[in-house]
Amino acid sequence: MAELWLQFVLTIDATLRVATPLILCAMAGIFSERSGIIDISLEGKMLLSAFTAATVAALYGSPWLGLFCAVIVSMVFSLIHGFACITHRGNQVISGLAINILASGLTVTIGIAIFAQGGQTPFLMSGQRFSAISLPFAEAAKNIPIIGTIYAEVISGHNLLVWVALLSVILTAHVLFHTSFGLRLRAVGEKPEAVDTAGISVTLMRYQAVLIAGLLCGIAGAYLSIAHGAGFGREMTAGKGYIALAAMIFGHWRPIPALMACLMFGFLDAIAARLQGVELPFFGPMPTDLILVLPYVLTVILLAGFIGRAVPPKAIGQPYIKER
């Protein structure tokens, strides 16, 4: 029983680790999409910033500098997305797609040019990464049943960026629903004419929104390569940006429900990893591929309105044209 409990606790712990980049990207998506800008480039920005973080950390040895540069690069690509979609009224899906494809190409091309390791970055030493933070008394608490194991395994031992991700949810919820900036942001995504009439620049609001999205994607990317992992590998985001997008939709473009969706998707991932190779009676090996596909299937079912209804912001995807 104690063994089973430990397994469960460890799965929850893994869930949190897997969900961290999803949470950050989902919050990024919420900011962007709430302002009316579709952002399928979460994936690409995360990939670019993962690469940047690992590269800078490998070259200069500082994870903080890596994080900083990752955020800057991600925000630059947010600006490109904004320049295309807000300034030039380009198609938001096409722009996002372009960034994703560009990211796949750029990271490998530049990676080979710098490190000549087939697109990977060198393995990072512990000083070049964000390491796990052990909370006080975690070792001692291990022996206390239930509460102690939860404290030692689930709460303690995460790196800083996990906490940043959780904090980002609280901040997103606060900014979006309890500040005038948030009110304007949401209004820009629902009825930009109204915001314009009130004398607020729709363009400026949307640029701010995509920049915040860039910031959060940058942290997510840095988490992957210099906190959770120890270096960058080709295509290391592996569709996480799209899962985050799915989680955001699943959470109806709201921070707390989106967090729950990220945790659920993370849990599926963690479970699939644990069940890899486990034989089921009558069934043969565990179909872990089918567990991993559940987030996508569930999102399709949700979008189809079979379980609740996901209603996106009204003005999403439409460039705003100011009347003259």
Binding site: I38, I40, I80, F83, A84, C85, H88, R89, G90, N91, Q92, V93, I94, S95, L97, A98, I99, N100, I101, L102, A103, S104, G105, L106, V108, T109, I110, I112, A113, A116, G119, G239, Y242, L245, A246, I249, P287, D289, L290, L292, V293, Y296, V297, T299, V300, L303, A304, G305, F306, A310, P312, I321, R324
Partner: protein
């Protein structure tokens, strides 16, 4: 003074400017990583057209892009953004696999191939119909659903190829080889048999099917009732309802055609080259189809040209891989991303400037006598 661009400038000069911009940025990046962009370009051109067998390889890639480009374009005409070409092609390949693996022990090869071709289209169409139906009847956004369907298709492929369909005694996730003769003949085999010496390349008969598809899509979109209604659906659903049609039905039909075209891409890879079903044979060609359709302005002739360009890019990119230590095929991915950015998302960026330049050159033609044109002057800045 700014003037609206005449149609010929809009369809010929503007796309060239956008591609040029993409290549300039790519050139800057190549220079930044310490290589000479002009050398790279000349190697790409030689690699795509000049070397022995190069043209065959270029046309082989072109085949993929014609199918996926047409798939995106047909959907675009109904204002549907199908980014699920990748998944639809995978499922098309799966369809070929089902037909061939179950029938090749009992039926003659030619008959198996003739059965497999429509099945590829049907399977691809089914994978397009579901998102189409979800969009039309349940209101879910087609972009998101097709993204999800790409992942679902990919998981199904992994699950089947590493399970049920995996060849016995095989470690990699792929099916057994198809029986002897169950393929679309490669052109160099045919040419050599006819007495024309021709270098080896994977170019095969599916190129011919791609050309037929180009013509068929042109006829469908511009010469049939259905094509007219598809375009009308893209412009105004209300008008379509008023004309007595059900837009939801049109959306589903359009997605079926679109998915079917993407499914046909599997012919080139599975029946033309691999002769077995492997994992990830689509290698992003479905996404490239979006770039192809954008550049080709959703017109079959434009798609043919854009497919040739991308075919040359892919083949030339493979050549870069050999010649340079620092440049790999991912360079092509980068250029592709830039092309989508400039000719898709930033398509309108150069228009105001072009209009000003055009205005300078045609200023002496008085516009006051043509009030209809004045009214059309763009109001944006």
């Amino acid at each position: 003074m700014r003037r609206p661009l005449p149609a010929w400038v809009d369809i010929s000069i503007m796309p060239l400017i956008n591609i040029a911009a993409a290549f300039v940025v790519a050139g800057i990046i190549i220079a930044l990583i310490g290589e000479n962009p002009l050398t790279a370009l000349s190697i790409m051109v030689k690699g795509a057209f000049v070397y022995k067998g190069a043209l065959g390889y270029t046309l082989y890639y072109t085949t993929n892009f014609i199918f996926t480009g047409l798939a995106v374009a047909v959907a675009f005409h109904a204002m549907l953004f199908n980014i699920g070409g990748e998944g639809q092609a995978m499922i098309g390949g799966l369809g070929i696999g089902f037909v061939v693996l179950s029938l090749d022990p009992i039926l003659p090869p030619l008959l198996v191939v003739l059965l497999a071709i429509p099945v590829a289209a049907i399977f691809g169409a089914l994978w397009g119909i579901i998102p189409g139906w979800l969009q039309a009847r349940r209101g879910s956004h087609i972009v998101i659903t097709t993204i999800m369907f790409n992942f679902i298709a990919s998981s199904i492929m992994v699950w089947l190829l590493a399970g049920m369909l995996m060849a016995p005694g095989q470690m990699s996730p792929e099916t057994r080889h198809f029986a002897e003769g169950v393929n679309l003949a490669q052109i160099h085999h045919i040419a050599n048999a006819l007495g024309w010496p021709m270098a080896r390349s994977p170019l095969n008969l599916s190129f011919g099917i791609a050309i037929i598809a180009l013509v068929a899509v042109w006829v469908l979109i511009w010469r049939t009732r259905l094509g007219y209604i598809i375009r009308a659906t893209g412009h105004s659903e209300k008008a379509v309802i008023y004309a007595g049609h059900d837009p939801a039905r049109i959306i589903i039909i359009t997605m079926a055609i679109s998915g079917g075209l993407a499914g046909l891409m599997a012919l080139n890879e599975i029946l033309g080259v691999q002769e077995r079903v492997i994992l990830n044979f689509t290698s992003g060609y479905g996404f490239t189809g979006i770039a192809v359709a954008l550049m080709g302005r959703n017109h079959p002739f434009g798609i043919l040209l854009a497919s040739l360009l991308f075919g040359a890019l892919y083949q030339g990119g493979a050549e870069l891989d050999f010649e340079f230590q620092t440049i790999t095929r991912e360079m092509v991915l980068m250029i592709q991303g830039l092309i989508i950015l400039f000719s898709g998302a930033l398509a309108l960026m150069f228009v105001p400037t072009a209009e000003r330049i055009y205005g300078l050159f045609s200023a002496h033609e008085t516009s006051a006598s043509d009030p209809s044109k004045l009214g059309k002057d763009r109001q944006d800045g």
